[in-house]
Amino acid sequence: MTLFLKILSYVGLGLTLIPSVLLFMERITIQTNNSLMAVGMLLWFVTAPLWINRNTEKNHADKS
């Protein structure tokens, strides 16, 4: 499950950066770029909080 979430998160990060590269290369329009970045943002913020802090919290729990 965590692996699946991580993949979705990284897709979100990809959708944040790659569209602007395509826009720079004039392969997509600015509207498409903005929409893809918004989707990437949602994908990242919905999935990343579910796994990104787990290691830190596990470390804290181990020390207690």
Binding site: L17, P19, M37
Partner: protein, 467 residues
């Protein structure tokens, strides 16, 4: 309720506030790499990059100044802060207390807390420029110092209230949220810059340098703004975190490092946040200037929205929030040490109120470069005192950590060192026209010299203590 934020922050982990961090409490290099990368990609980056453009920095001056200044900053962390931190493994406050006494540390905490309030206030104002977009708020301009409208004041106070509420009740959640936002934010900075480059005339990467010189960092300041050179950029990049490296605030962080070499891991923050993000936000601002016919409006929210749509202002709000929130919390903790009987949440609430009021004044954003330089300068002398106490005091016949050994709560020599250093810096500034960005370097040497001389004068029995 009074202990909730501390409990949430500290959790089950011991903080070692008045004892060295033991081997079991030390952390690996990955923690520091990520911490520095996250901490230095923040809301301030949306302001600093554009201000370099407004101050007419030339392209070669910017790139060379940032590279050299950031390398010097990394060396300061690696060669000055980290060796002391990993040798002593004490917090800044406790280390200072052992040298200067508890009363001096209390005064230091008040100054520190005030600076934190103003820094957080500038970030609240930056967030307000993004939140205000759907409400058509009148945005501040480069020469705006006072609140622009009633709507601006309401927006700022509302954001300040929400941020303070979170700082009171849920710092741990904010810390976790910051871990989530950091990787996304740096990508938004890069993406936004890439998105606006074609509009500036860059259709191929080979054209970037020509456009950088002719359109972005032209070397010509905006009307009414002072001219910045290579030296301004270099010294700003070196000293914008002066409080943390030369000022030794990061003793508190780096005392957990397994090796002193981890101080060099600050390069992740310097070259992601203080290089890539500053360049990216400068490009964004140049694109805004071109499209707005050199409007004097200075509002990161609308600028980011014009570049990449909704992800832009969300990034501005998140960046501002993730900087302001822990800053308010730290200010609360600093003051709580002075008023130990007051619950932390009450102190934090007062700090939030002061911060929110300060945020109503856009001057905090427009003069952020000066403020950041002042912040570092004010705290730098105490970092110099720690350095001199650690490396030089024994060689000059002065007992290290004198306040601890003599059991005094107020060290005249260190307090005088602080005041006289700042006084001399003021004279250099007002009398000789040395700009605030350049005062840190001579000020540090002055502070070290004053500490050694004054310690000799005010502690004449030092040799007896040594014996």
């Amino acid at each position: 309720m009074s202990n909730q934020p501390i409990k949430k922050l500290v959790g089950p982990v011991k903080e070692y506030e008045r004892e060295p961090v033991p081997l079991a409490g030390q952390k690996g290099w990955r923690n520091f790499l990520g911490m520095y990368a996250g901490e230095h990609t923040a809301g301030t980056e949306f302001v600093i990059g554009p201000l370099f453009v407004a101050h007419g920095v030339g392209a070669i001056d910017l790139f060379a100044g940032l590279i050299l200044g950031n390398v010097l900053a990394v060396l300061s962390w690696g060669l000055m802060t980290a060796p002391i931190a990993t040798n002593k493994r004490l917090t800044l406050y406790y280390q200072l207390e052992r040298i200067c006494g508890r009363t001096t540390v209390s005064i230091y905490n008040v100054v520190n807390a005030l600076m934190f309030c103003f820094l957080a206030g500038s970030m609240i104002a930056v967030s307000a420029t993004a939140v205000g977009i759907p409400f058509g708020l009148t945005m501040p301009t480069l020469d705006t110092w006072l609140p622009t409208s009633l709507g601006w004041v309401i927006a700022v106070l509302l954001i300040g209230f929400l941020i303070t509420l979170v700082a009171i009740r849920g710092y741990a959640q904010v810390a976790r949220f910051a871990n989530v936002t950091a990787p996304w934010m740096i990508l938004v900075f890069i993406a936004a810059a890439l998105a606006v480059l074609p509009g500036l005339g860059v259709s191929h990467i080979s054209e970037f340098w020509a456009v950088a010189n002719e359109v972005i960092w032209t070397g010509v300041p905006l009307e009414g703004v002072s001219k910045f050179t290579f030296w301004h950029v270099m010294f700003f990049a070196w000293f914008c975190n002066m409080a943390m490296h030369i000022g030794m605030s990061d003793l508190t962080i780096l005392r957990y490092a397994k090796s002193w070499k981890y101080g060099f891991l600050s390069f992740s923050g310097m070259f992601l946040g203080h290089f890539i993000a500053w360049i990216a936000s400068g490009i964004l601002y140049a694109a805004f200037l071109q499209s707005s016919d050199f409007s004097s409006e200075f509002a990161p929210g609308p600028i980011a929205y014009a570049a990449v749509g909704i992800a832009g202002p969300v990034c501005v709000v998140v960046a501002g929030w993730s900087t302001a929130n822990p800053t308010i919390y730290r200010a609360g903790l600093a003051l709580q040490g002075i008023f130990p009987k007051l619950p932390t949440w009450k102190v934090t609430a007062w700090v939030g109120a002061v911060t929110s009021l300060a945020a109503c004044f856009p001057a905090l954003v427009m003069r952020l470069l000066d403020f950041v330089a002042l912040y570092g300068l004010l705290l730098m002398p105490m970092g110099a005192v720690i350095f001199a106490d650690f490396y030089l005091s024994s060689k000059f016949g002065i007992r290290p950590e004198m306040a601890y050994h003599k059991k005094v709560s107020f060290s005249v020599s260190t307090f005088m060192t602080w005041l006289l250093t700042l006084g001399i810096c003021l004279v250099l500034n007002l009398g000789f026209g040395v700009e605030i960005f350049f005062l840190g370097l001579p000020g540090w040497f002055v502070a070290v010299l004053l500490f050694l001389v004054l310690s000799k004068v005010f502690n004449p029995k030092n040799k007896e203590v040594l014996a």
